[in-house]
């Protein structure tokens, strides 16, 4: 039976090309793999091989012909002794049918304010105990490791040294070196190993001494952990937590003082949590460890030693995607997360003295983000200020601003202001560092600006 040899597409973008040279002539016998012709694309000249065997019955397109469309018949292959059939001509491409474009998701103003999940994190009367963020994080890991043999902790100095910031204190003693694992200083490598072990069913907690070092491992986090569930059509993913100190500490210079919240928040497939207080540190980390997806868990060195009340209950968890309203108010909504909450709450206290009532929202997780809570609050206060330590361009605040613009534009009485870290690498000098960070005074000034005071 005659086989039509078609003009091949030799690159992802080729639509036509020049049939530069035939390396066979009519009557030649060819086998699979033999080079039939040289074809010139816009980029290169390529050899074109036979797939089927037979003899060249007819060369349809002469060498030197330019503008030969992909999938045009260029020659006819026949079996030995077979005649060339009549009526072969250019054929329509056999590509897959054009799919209609996916309907874009257009955000429109909601008909009624979204109802956020307003249930309290713990019932009234729950016994509380004072705990540092550091202790809360350790308790979260230890409780989850007691409950699930597949959870393990890996990182630099997490075991014998008891954690560079003493987060994993006592864990080696309790769980042993099989589950609390000191790694060499090799972030790219151990992150990849942890992701691979998660593919195979384990639930690693990877501690980065600070998130600045996670940048060495960014490829494994984004390309290997975040995208695999999608690329595999849901067959396998990476149930794991990447955690560690993020953002500025104090006087550690540019390479150790960066907030990565906006970077990670951008990636579909990742979840991103960034707690402020100890109860959220504990409850969110427990939720993160149980989550079947890769979770970026951004901590803060300055907050590690701070005390907060934590519910003294057996299994305290905080759901993702639920903002916490720290303070209700009527004049302005201040949205923050992580250490930014410190400035937001201080500012709200001082603003109250001036008779300005600020509602303060702690997002707690940036992906998923409780935008419903933001919108609902802005519909009430008609003004919004965001607070974060990261840089201004492409910031978390700029995303929040765009959401408010799209969903609550008519409710705004003033432009949204983003209070951020300054657009500079972190300087070392004490006075300059102070200047580079976002401050409570800046938040107060921004609130006064949007409230026209």
């Amino acid at each position: 039976m005659a086989i039509e040899i078609l003009m091949p597409a030799l690159s992802p973008t080729m639509e036509e090309g020049t049939l530069a040279k035939w390396l066979v002539k009519e009557g030649d016998t060819v086998a699979s793999g033999d080079i039939l012709a040289e074809i010139e694309t816009d980029k290169a000249t390529m050899e074109f091989e036979a797939v089927d065997e037979g003899s060249i019955g007819k060369i349809v397109i002469a060498e030197g012909t330019e503008g030969v469309k992909v999938n045009a018949v260029i020659a006819i292959l026949v079996e030995e002794g077979e005649a060339v059939p009549d009526g072969t001509s250019e054929k329509a491409p056999q590509g897959a049918a054009e799919a209609p474009p996916a309907t874009p998701q257009v955000s429109t103003a909601p008909a009624s304010p979204p109802q956020p999940n307003a249930t309290p994190d713990w019932p009234e009367g729950t016994p509380m105990k004072a705990q540092t963020v550091r202790e809360a994080l350790r308790d979260a890991m230890a409780e989850e490791m007691r409950a699930d043999e597949d959870v393990y902790l890996m990182g630099e100095e997490v075991a014998e040294y008891q954690g560079a910031y003493k987060i994993s204190q006592g864990m080696l003693d309790e769980f042993g070196p099989k589950r609390v694992i000191d790694t060499p200083i090799t972030e790219h490598g151990f992150t990849g190993i942890a992701v691979g072990s998660a593919y195979a069913g384990l639930k690693p907690i990877v501690e980065f001494m600070t998130f600045n070092f996670a940048v060495q491992a960014l490829d494994q986090i984004i390309n290997s952990a975040a995208k695999t569930l999608y690329m595999s059509g849901g067959q396998m993913g990476a149930p794991m937590v990447f955690r560690g100190a993020n953002g500025a500490a104090a006087r550690v210079g540019a390479q150790h003082s960066q907030c990565y919240a906006a970077w990670f928040m951008q990636v579909p497939g990742l979840k991103v949590a960034m707690p402020y207080c100890a109860s959220d540190a504990k409850g969110l980390l427990k939720t993160a460890i149980r989550d079947p997806n890769p979770v970026i868990f951004l901590e803060n060195e300055i907050l590690y030693g701070r005390n907060f009340d934590v519910p003294d209950v057996d299994d305290y968890t905080v759901p993702f995607g639920k903002a916490r309203i720290w303070r209700t108010g009527t004049d302005v909504t201040i949205v923050s997360f992580g250490i930014g909450m410190q400035y937001a709450l201080e500012a709200a206290d001082k603003l109250a003295e001036d008779g300005i009532s600020a509602e303060v929202l702690d997002l707690r997780t940036l992906r998923p983000m409780d935008t419903g809570a933001i919108i609902r609050s802005v519909m009430k206060t008609n003004r919004c200020v965001t607070v974060e330590e990261g840089w201004p361009q492409g910031s978390v605040g700029s995303y929040i601003t765009s959401v408010i613009m799209q969903e609550a534009f008519d409710y705004l009485d003033a432009p949204v202001i983003n209070c951020t870290g300054k657009d500079v690498p972190m300087p070392y000098a004490a006075n300059l560092e102070k200047l580079a960070l976002v401050t409570t005074d800046e938040v107060i000034a921004a609130v006064k600006q949007v409230t026209y005071r």
Partner: protein, 334 residues
């Protein structure tokens, strides 16, 4: 080829030789068909064919047991067929259809099979090496006696993360076999232009990992070396490196004009060292099979590949809702 030639045939039966012939031929015919479908515009983007390298994965798969794991780069079609994945599902993924292994969302470079312990299909050169080491980490953690194969090329062997993985694999005695498929060209860069010392198998020495070169055009040599490596890893002695010297007949990807080597070089490898011809000769001279037997196999494989191509053409494109699925796994409800 600098690799040692193996004359070991003793532990291979006629039945196994026929199996090798069948599996290698399936990969070759499948890849030829994929190249054809690419030419017709039915496969898009990047498509890296395995033609010429068939003996590597077929020889090593002969050493595996149920539950052993494998992971590789973007040149992955051969690995999937060799570990028993369905040619229909692989080809339909190449055409981006709903019947593909990833429902059309992965493509040539990104396919997975939990059932067959195939962990991808990775597009970032070298990333699969720590990932494969992590598969072995999980096996050691669970104490299940399984081993993992982490395949990578001579190109990937210059990535830093490979050596980070070597260090930890050796330090923690992980049951992983590092398989370097040295096809001599990292895309268009010949090994001698990219690599300061040509013997990549020696690169484990700094970490105390044994390694050896293997003739990758001889499936029996590959199998013999694989058995040694697997025995080492399964016995809890840690990782092992196999540098398998092979050759890819086609370009790096479909859009590679391959001007960095001569046509004569390719032709010489095909004529003198072809792995399938080698087994064919063994079968015929050893009187394990007749020309007619082999013709029947050829015909059978052609039918399998044509069926896969037909399936890949007929399978519908993914439903538009699939754009928004599989981004997150649902947490179990407490």
């Amino acid at each position: 080829m600098a690799a040692k030639k193996s004359t070991k045939k003793s532990n291979t039966s006629a039945e196994e030789l026929l199996g090798f012939y069948r599996e290698m031929l399936l990969i070759r015919r499948f890849e030829e068909k994929a190249g054809q479908l690419y030419g017709m515009g039915l496969i898009g983007g990047f498509c890296h064919l395995y033609i010429g390298q068939e003996a590597v994965v077929v020889g090593l798969e002969a050493t595996t047991e149920e539950g052993d794991k494998r992971i590789t780069s973007y040149r992955d079609h051969g690995h999937m067929l060799a570990c028993g994945m369905d040619p229909d599902g692989v080809m339909a993924e190449l055409t981006g259809r709903a019947g593909g292994y990833s429902g059309g969302k992965g493509g040539s470079m990104h396919m997975f099979s939990k059932e067959k312990n195939f962990y991808g299909g990775h597009g970032i050169v070298g990333a699969q090496v720590p990932l494969g080491t992590g598969l072995a980490f999980a096996d050691k953690y669970k104490g299940n006696g399984r081993v993992s194969f982490a395949y990578f090329g001579d190109g990937a062997s210059n990535q830093g993360q490979v050596y980070e993985a070597f260090n930890m694999a050796a330090l923690w005695e992980l049951p992983v076999i590092f398989v370097i498929e040295n096809n001599q060209y990292a895309m268009g860069t010949a090994q001698k232009r990219s690599t300061s010392t040509p013997d990549i198998y020696t690169r484990g020495q700094a970490f105390g990992i044994p390694g050896e070169p293997v003739d990758g055009m001889d499936v029996l040599a590959v199998k013999a070396a694989g058995q040694k490596a697997v025995a080492h890893a399964r016995a809890g002695k840690g990782p092992y490196i196999l540098e398998i010297k092979t050759y890819r007949y086609r370009g790096h990807s479909m859009s590679d004009p391959a001007k960095y080597r001569t046509r004569e070089e390719v032709q010489r490898m095909r004529e003198e060292r072809d792995a399938i011809e080698h087994v064919r000769t063994l079968l015929l001279t050893g009187k394990h099979a007749t020309e007619d037997d082999l013709k029947a196999i050829d015909k059978d494989i052609k039918a399998t590949v044509n069926k896969a191509a037909d399936f890949a053409k007929a399978s519908p494109e993914p439903a538009l809702e699939e754009l928004w699925t599989d981004i997150y796994a649902e947490p179990a409800t407490a």
